[in-house]
Symmetry: C2
Subunit: 253 residues, 2 copies
Amino acid sequence: MDDPVLLTGATGRVGTAILDGIGDDYEWRCLARSPPEDDLPGEFVAADITDEDAMNDAMEGIGAVIHLAGDPRPEAPWSSVLENNIDGTKTILQAAVDEGVEKFVFASSNHAVGAFETDERTPEMYRTHDEFRLDGTELPRPGNFYGVSKAAGETLCRYYHDHYDLDVVCLRIGNLTKNHPPIDYERGQAMWLSHRDCAHLAERSLEADYDYEILYGISDNDRKYYSLEPAKEAIGYEPRDNSAQFDGKERVD
Amino acid sequence: MDDPVLLTGATGRVGTAILDGIGDDYEWRCLARSPPEDDLPGEFVAADITDEDAMNDAMEGIGAVIHLAGDPRPEAPWSSVLENNIDGTKTILQAAVDEGVEKFVFASSNHAVGAFETDERTPEMYRTHDEFRLDGTELPRPGNFYGVSKAAGETLCRYYHDHYDLDVVCLRIGNLTKNHPPIDYERGQAMWLSHRDCAHLAERSLEADYDYEILYGISDNDRKYYSLEPAKEAIGYEPRDNSAQFDGKERVD
């Protein structure tokens, strides 16, 4: 990817992990509603993703988009995810195809499929002996309105892929934490995504060839209920971390 | 279903087919934005589905909902389907679970999967020898924003089914025309739904036991690319019409 990459939601947790890992490897245009506290690489644009004109301006000359912006709260009310996550994603997809962007990386979420974690399946599905796997071909079962909005975003991405020359990868991102997996939280360990695996996932999403993919983004954890095979095959994702490596170790914040 | 059935979008094409067929068999509360030109059975409520208070009032004492209301235009702009079809469906689902409604029948659409009809597959997939079938387990591929909104409605239904005691059937309705199938239109003949099969589909959706289903609603056409097996198995749908019966016949409007 030689053209600049637009990173929306650049100041959030996922954006920070990406820029920490591959901030020096691309020409970035970072976008967020408020200016960052720390220096970010490349240009910075302060804008709201629901602002159509601002998105069209921000898209100028862009080759790829990593779209992280939106209301990130699992407990976000419907009105907010309807506006920021559903309508906002449509706005930025439209701006991307109008500009002729090649690749669109959409930050979806484990919450799009949270309701697969039924009382019957849990906590067994979080444990290493359990063989239940989701692989991205299943229909969404959101655990909350935030998850509904992410599933709707995936469908919008599908629409724009099918009708325009835009390749899209939807990353159902797990539980991103820095340095170590969540402590005493089996579910979080099963869907842990380390910072360096997150940055690698973004790098593969910018470099690989694909059409439209829904991929799970977690580290190579012993505990897991998301298959990593689709991400390995589709974009060459090779995670290096595993939440089991931290079992029994002292917490190192 | 002994309690009254709320029929939203009662004055539209699908509502008319349902009431023509089973209008005498249930106690209806018919809802539409504007009063009907002809008499409808039961009570009539003039209200907009985006009006939360009006929806809560309309839901009082209701046992089942057939939700047809929304912007029905395949070419409807995003702003309209976002408000009427996505937000409107959330409003009525919330009102339904607040009232303790048992069954929710959601009028989805063939447009939720319209982009499966690629240049490579068409027109062969519309012909009797072709074996391509969609069965409702596939991820959506909307052909337009209307289809995006219907796919989002299905996901909202899934959320409300998983989190509340509400059974839901999403009907991906084909091409509904009265008396005879579309003329000289292979695609329309492949997804034809006759008026009496439409009413029967609604009757089965009110009477059968199910959890959450996505079912294709078409007649038993020789030409087809939607499987009828899921609807037959899940709700006992037994279509009686077939667009092939009209081949070579004079048009009888």
